[in-house]
Structure formats: C-alpha cells, structure tokens
C-alpha cells in the first residue's frame, strides 16, 4: 500500500480496467486439509459471477475469504486495490463495501425488521434515526416486504427473512454483494421470491458474487460461471458455454449429477 491510494469510500467507482476484487494465489487450510489451493480470480465492477461446485469444493470458503470472514493462510486479496489482510487497512471499513447474504439469513432476532435494516446505517454511518429508517423502508419496499417493518424476524417465513437480509446488506450501500447459498435453506416455494430480488439487483448493475445451486439463475444472470472442485477453480467462462460444452471431466460429472 502506498500513500497515494485513494481513501475507501462506499460506492466509489474504480477505473473500468482495474478489477474491483483481485484474488491472488490464496491458500486456506483447515487443519491439514487444503480448502483453497492457489486460487486466483479478478472481478470487474458490475460483473455478476456465479460460483458452482460440489459441496466441500471450497466455494463458500472462497466467498467468505473475500470479506475476511475466513482468514487465508497464503496469498493476497485486494478489494478496490486495498489489501484486506494488511493491518494498515481497517477491515471494518472495507466490509462496509461488501454486503453479504448468508444461507441461514442470520437476521438479528432481538431487533424488528426495520431495526435490522436500519441498525448499520444508524450506528456505523451515523445517520439520524429518520434518515436510517427512511433508507431502511425504501429497501424493504424494494424487496417487497415493507408491510412487515415492525415485526420480529421470527414471525417471517424463510423467504421473507432472506429478503430482509438482502435489504440489511444493501443498507450500507455496498458496491459488491456476496451471496453464500442464499436459497439453500429455503422451502422450494420460497426460492423464487428471493431469486427475483437478486435478479433485480443484477439488472441494476450491482457487482455480485453468488454461490448457488440454482442453475437457472446461474444461466440467466451470470456473466461468468466459476466451477470449483477440490479447492480450485477448475473451469470458468460464459455460463452457456459451460453448461452446453463442459470441457473438464469434473464439471461434466457435476452437471450430470444435478441436471
């Protein structure tokens, strides 16, 4: 890091040629087991990436490494040019720019829906209560759940909870959204409502990295499809190309199993 690097501001643009996320040769071990082996990847602003692969292939670990929920053992991750492992960069500020949606929603059960969404802008961005709640309500409207603003998460269905979780992540106005199997814990009839929200987000130009098993979503939304196996990126490219003409035997095998 040099002193010339621009300060991190949420939503600030980067030059089109520079990747917004740059992952370089990262390794992650759980005990002796390598979960990520020398993975590198560049993501440009506005790109929509979908990560697929068998369970245990390291795709969730990879996603979680990008906002340092998992600390990698080797390699480098740059978000908007900032090394997220460096002590000079405040990870809490970098994370503001990386919204994350979890498989298990992880809404705060002791807060109402509105409080869940307005909490981060209120406490971290120091918005006034009115401003934070206005922002939260607008987001809740966007995900189609503004009528539930004042109930507690336990009163909501899984699909509704996940939509609130997306709104909560958006409340910090991040420039990148990370989705970690957002529909895997949902009953089948609720998958659609969550995917709709994600498709809308993609259409607005949000930079998205999404780990999912929803191949329909991958096919329609992804600019690039990443197939991981054994902690490595085995194949990547246009989703159509990967689905119709997989080259790697692991991908062929995987597609045979799920399609």
């Amino acid at each position: 890091m040099t002193a010339n690097d621009p300060p991190m501001t949420p939503g600030a643009g980067v030059p089109n040629d520079a990747p917004i996320i740059s992952v370089r040769n990262i390794w992650k071990f759980f005990g002796n087991l390598p979960a990520l082996q020398d993975v590198s990847l560049d993501v440009r602003a506005g790109e929509r990436l979908v990560l697929i692969g068998p369970s245990g292939s390291g795709k969730s670990t990879f996603l979680r490494a990008i906002n340092r929920l998992e600390e990698v053992d080797r390699g480098q991750i740059l978000v908007k040019g900032q090394n997220i492992m460096s002590r000079e960069n405040n990870i809490n500020l970098i994370r503001r720019d990386l919204g994350m949606v979890f498989q298990q929603f992880n809404l705060f059960p002791h807060k109402t829906v509105l409080q869940n969404v307005s909490m981060a802008p209120l406490k971290l961005l120091k918005l006034s209560r009115d401003e934070a709640e206005d922002r939260a309500l607008a987001l809740l409207k966007k995900v189609g759940i503004s009528d539930k603003a004042n109930v507690y998460p336990a009163m909501l269905s899984g699909g509704q909870q996940q939509r609130v979780a997306i709104a909560r992540a958006l409340a910090m106005q991040p420039s990148i959204m990370l989705f970690d199997e957002p529909t895997s814990a949902l009953d089948p009839e609720m998958v659609g409502e969550v995917l709709d929200v994600m498709v809308n987000l993609a259409e607005e130009g949000m930079t998205m990295l999404c780990v999912t098993h929803e191949m329909g979503f991958a096919r329609t939304v992804a600019d690039r499809l990443i197939f991981m196996a054994d902690g490595q990126i085995v194949e990547s490219g246009q989703p159509e190309a990967l689905f119709t003409a997989p080259r790697h035997p692991r991908l062929k095998q995987f597609l045979n199993q799920i399609l």
Binding site: N67, L69, R95, R96, Q104, P109, H110, L124, Y152, R168
Partner: protein
C-alpha cells in the same frame, strides 16, 4: 484489629450453594412447588404470630433492621459482582492470551476457596495490612467470589449465541466490540438472566455468613436475640421462614423478568 465476635465459633458452617430454582415462567397451574412453599411459609409465620404472639411477635419485630442490612449487602455485592462477572466472561472468551489467562486463573483460584474462608481472609487475615469494616469486607469477598461464578455464566451465555450472528454483524462493518454489545450480549442476556438471578439469590442467602463478622444482618440480629433470650427454636424458625419467603419472591421476580425477555420469539 476488628473486634472479635463472641458468637463466631458457633453455627458458621455455610458453603456456597446453588441458588433457589427459578420457577418455570410457563407454569400456569395454581398448585406447584413454588406456590405451596410460599403459601406454607406465610401461613406458618402468620399462624405462629397470631396464636403465639409471645415470643414470635417480639422476634418478628426484632429482625427487620437486619433485613435491611442483608438487602444492602446483597444489592451492593450484585452491583460489583455482575460487572465483574461480565468482564470475567469476556476475558474467558478473549483471543488475547494474557487476558484469557488472567480471567481463567481468577476463576480457578476463587472457585477453589470456600466463600467463608475468603470472608475471613479479607476481614481477619488482611487486617494486618488494611482495616476494612465488616460490611465492606463482606461486599468485597462476596463480589469477588460471585464474580468468578457469574463469569462462567456469562461465558456460557455468550458462547451459546450462534456464530452466524457475529458473522452477520461483522460483515456489515461492525467492530468486535460493537458486535458484542449490540448483537451478542442483548441476545445472550436472555440465557444469562436465569442463572445470574439464581446466583443473586444464592448470594442473598450467603450473606448470612457475614453475621460471623458482627455485621448486623438478619442472621446476626437473630443470634443476638438468641443470646439474651435463649429462644433458639423459635428464633431460627422465624429466620428460616423469612429467608425462604424472600428467596421465593425473588425467584418469581427473576422468572417474570425472564418471560419478559422472550418478547421476540414470535409465533
């Protein structure tokens, strides 16, 4: 040197025990262990008072001063023990090796020494260096002792909150400390409250130990009453009933608070 208490050779074998059991807030039946105990204690006390005013009326009139002292020591000890317990609990889950070691060692040492010994140690043994009043040494000893026990309660309560809550907060940009105080502790408080309430009630009972150091609590008042009247049976019956009624009422209060904390469960 503190004045030696002429009573302190008698009846001082009391150990730290578990508190009263907290009634289940979902218990709706009129007849249960709690209501039977409370009604029984009140009836016996009222009966003794009505049918045998002498000496019971005298005893009952003699004790309230002591009750105030008991409450005073309990409340002061709670005020120190709960924050100390929180600090200890946070220390025990700290990633900082030094802090973790300090907290763990504190818990290990305190749990290995009976409260009575700790009381004597602060009141008598340390009087070689500093002289502290009976009440002060009681509050110090009880706070330090219960701080260690509550530390374990806080540690367990905090550890019980799913990791996903911390991850969600951290992913939004909250710092470790903000995550603890805004997200984890408010939820952990619900699991922590019943055992902490329990410890507070146990604490109230353990304040009976301070009578040994001539602190005029319920027990000490009873002992001085016995000292002049020799009414052992009558006096200690009343004392037992008074402690029982207080702890039963307090355990109910904890139970009500606990059910209030369930507001966000929904459905």
């Amino acid at each position: 040197m503190p004045e030696p208490d002429e009573n302190h050779s008698k009846g001082n074998i009391v150990l730290v025990t578990d508190g009263a059991s907290i009634p289940d807030p979902r218990e709706w039946r009129l007849i249960n262990a709690w209501s039977i105990s409370l009604a029984g204690a009140i009836c016996v006390l009222a009966g003794l008072f009505l049918f045998s005013p002498d000496p019971y009326e005298r005893i009952v009139r003699y004790l309230p001063d002591g009750m105030l002292v008991t409450f005073k020591i309990t409340i002061m000890s709670i005020c120190f023990a709960v924050p100390l317990g929180l600090l200890t609990g946070l220390g025990r889950i700290s990633r900082n090796r030094g802090i973790n070691l300090i907290a763990s060692t504190y818990v290990e040492i305190i749990r290995g020494i009976p409260l009575l010994v700790q009381l004597f140690y602060i009141y008598y043994a340390l009087s070689r260096f500093v002289t502290v009043s009976g009440t002060t040494s009681a509050v110090i000893a009880i706070s330090i002792c219960y701080g260690a026990y509550m530390g374990e309660v806080f540690r367990a309560g905090i550890s019980a909150i799913p990791k996903g809550q911390t991850e969600a907060a951290r992913s939004l940009g909250f710092s470790r400390v903000q995550t603890m105080f805004l997200v984890v502790l408010p939820q952990a408080w619900r699991t922590i409250l019943p055992p902490v309430g329990n410890e507070c009630i146990a604490m109230l009972k353990d304040t009976a130990l301070v009578s040994i150091m001539a602190v005029p609590d319920i027990m000490q008042r009873a002992r001085s009453f016995v000292g002049t009247t020799y009414l052992y049976f009558e006096t200690y019956t009343v004392v037992a009933l008074v402690y029982l009624i207080i702890t039963l009422l307090l355990s109910k209060a904890v139970s009500i608070m606990e059910s209030r904390l369930n507001y966000y469960d929904g459905k």
